[in-house]
Symmetry: C2
Subunit: 414 residues, 2 copies
């Protein structure tokens, strides 16, 4: 059922509207904020004054003005607050610390031993995060909180990792409670694709897009979406599972129970398997001798590098993957009619341009609405730590992004 709104919610919302206007700009005046947001000059002025007093916003140089007093530019104060992001990937844990603008200050990585108990691992991650903060000289009271990105599905209200594919030890781990216990800060948990999309929203391509989809190519293939400026998670927090769009009916079986899912056809494991079969069949490739010496060295990274360098076999396999990704992009265009599709995650490294070209080609010729507008494609420019950076952005986003859902949430009272 719908919930009503009230003055306190409205106040908080408008503060965040002003803040996001400043955050999205490279320096903006009070007058421009009023124009962009539809708020009155007086409302903007009161809010900005409070943000400056709290140290969140700072005044910069003056802009030339058409008469009257010069307009001062406003900027987010990067040192106002900090956030920690932790990405629990099946293979490693990445930890980053960002400032208030989402800029990465430091990172650390830990390879994962497959035998490690989740609670031991989470404890180690908490210690590593505290060490990073100490190195940077950031006191605890300037840390807004910690974002944790995990492979989906997540039970977001509980912070449980319910039953991530291929990681049995992580079934029903109360990651939010454990991490809060070990690290001593507020913790937000979300799946890696949502985290990466929120990162893109906060400081990447998504800054200027009201409606965008994110295809996250990691160990698996996930997705996320911002619709009408809000992240959309679905009724059970499982929206955006683009990796389970079927691209090849009767294709390879997928752990989800279906066949021919994008993930089953295009995950790093599937790509590696396909190339190994071709190499075992004796097909010519620059990877052949390496495969004969030690087949485990012909991994996803080696294949992507070979494809980028023009190896025929690797390129053929990657081209087919690009076509499947493009098929999926057309489904996203026809279903969601967003303005931007971001491709990100470790899986795009070395082959991003191949994927982007094929997706662009499909999007300019196939979606029904292509004559109205062509869905733009972008490769995430986040570093390899995209999901960890995104996890840190979740903290900024939760605290500072205007969210119409919060405007009308019952939780905040009548």
């Amino acid at each position: 059922m719908f919930s009503g709104t009230n003055l306190p919610k409205m106040g908080t919302y408008n503060v965040n509207v002003v803040l996001s206007s400043i955050q999205a700009s490279e320096g903006i005046s009070r007058v421009e904020i009023a124009q962009q947001t539809g708020l009155t000059a007086q409302t903007v002025s009161v809010i900005v004054r409070r943000l400056i007093d709290n140290g969140i916003v700072e005044e910069g140089g003056s802009l030339p003005s058409a008469g009257g007093k010069p307009r001062k530019t406003l900027r987010i104060n990067p040192t106002a607050a900090y956030a920690v992001g932790i990405h629990f990937d099946p293979r490693e844990v990445a930890i980053v610390v960002v400032d208030m603008t989402g800029h990465e200050l430091a990172s650390s990585h830990q390879e994962l031993s497959p035998t490690l108990e989740p609670e031991v691992l989470i404890d180690q991650a908490a210690q590593a995060a505290h060490k990073l903060l100490a190195t940077l000289g950031i006191p605890d009271d300037r840390v807004l909180g910690v974002g944790a990105a995990c492979p989906g599905p997540i039970d977001q209200s509980q912070g449980l990792v319910t039953s991530p594919p291929r990681r049995d030890r992580w079934t029903d781990v109360p990651i939010k409670r454990l991490l809060t216990h070990f690290i001593g800060f507020d913790v937000i948990v979300d799946n890696d694709a949502n985290a990466a999309a929120i990162g893109e929203r906060w400081s990447g391509h998504g800054r200027s897009a009201s409606d965008f989809a994110y295809m996250y190519l990691g160990t698996g293939i996930g997705g996320a979406m911002f619709l009408s400026n809000n992240i959309y998670r679905g009724v059970s927090m499982n929206a955006g599972e683009f990796g389970h769009i079927v691209v090849e009916p009767n294709g390879s079986p997928c752990y989800c129970g279906n066949r021919g899912c994008l993930e089953a056809m295009c995950s790093p494991a599937a790509i590696t398997r396909n190339v190994h079969v071709e190499l075992a069949l004796g097909r010519d490739s620059s990877l052949s001798s390496l495969y004969q010496r030690d087949s485990s060295q012909v991994d996803h990274t080696a294949i992507c590098i070979a494809a980028a360098q023009g190896d025929d076999l690797a390129r053929r396999v990657i081209d087919r993957v690009a076509e499947y990704i493009a098929d999926c992009a057309v489904v996203i265009a026809n279903s969601l009619d967003v303005e931007l599709l971001v491709l990100g995650g470790k899986g795009v490294r070395h082959v991003a341009e191949i994927y982007k070209d094929k997706v662009n080609e499909a999007l300019s010729s196939l979606p029904l609405a292509r004559r109205t507008h062509v869905l733009r494609v972008a490769i995430s420019e986040m570093s390899a730590d995209g999901a960890a950076l995104g996890a840190a952005s979740m903290v900024l986003h939760a605290n500072y992004a205007p969210n119409t859902a919060h405007l009308v949430s019952v939780a905040a009272g009548g």
Copy 2:
């Protein structure tokens, strides 16, 4: 960019929150409204008083109360206002008049001559609507407005039908301006799938679902979605084109430029074509003799009736269609994670249960999140005039539904 909110927007929003609480119930007290919406008892009381004074809401009988004064139930006053809905289908124009609760009071239908100019047709529809209103004794000043449902794509801001498939005469027709001119009421234009979904929201299965998708099986196959209680249209008003999800790579070519789209494989024209081929090949069927006498009589309706009655050939073709629709439902489940999928439109008549069973089977076994919740399937219970009823509901919806987008729209000023 984000827009701020203000007191007038907040007031309007809360009135609509209260109204939608009353509308979704079968009689509700002020206390229950406050509980549902999170608004204070005082706010609810003030809003309800104003709605009663304006004649929009009426008090019914008393509910038993646990001490204190008895709680009066509140209901929408059906005669408070009326709306007209017009569905411009490629084959006919359907016109309905509904009361304030979305209940159909009367309808009329006109077969379309393919040679009719759009402006002549629109003029005739306007006259027919006025005749219906006169028959019902509804004065013009009680008519809230007119909703028009057209085959997509629509340019919603302009009310143009930009280039509907298979209707060249309707390309770039300014339907909103023409209809407003002829009918003399405010006009809202949307595509038929959105109209049907809004109808479902207002008085069908969608009443109690915050997140649902609608698959509209008409002359073509369209779709629509309510996400977080708001209709989601996408950046160019073309979201929800589920008919162009590819279900058979390398399948029949579709007018959209792709191959094997749901619409290309499952539209009434495709179904009819497939059955005709089988009959021409001499396959045994209860439709054979009719086909030999006059093949044009073996149309989509005849085929669906035959399938429902157990004819093997017709049933085989319809079963295959049901499987494709189910494939599409799984894509919707994995991408959108909604709680409900409504199947509606003329295309489901006679075969609704066949489609529903196959979709239910797929949704309980294939989507990734099926262990968290199974997407519910429902057949629209709207009459054959679903899109026309939906078009009328658009008027009620635009005037009375809480819309967080309006809460933060710039248009309403600072």
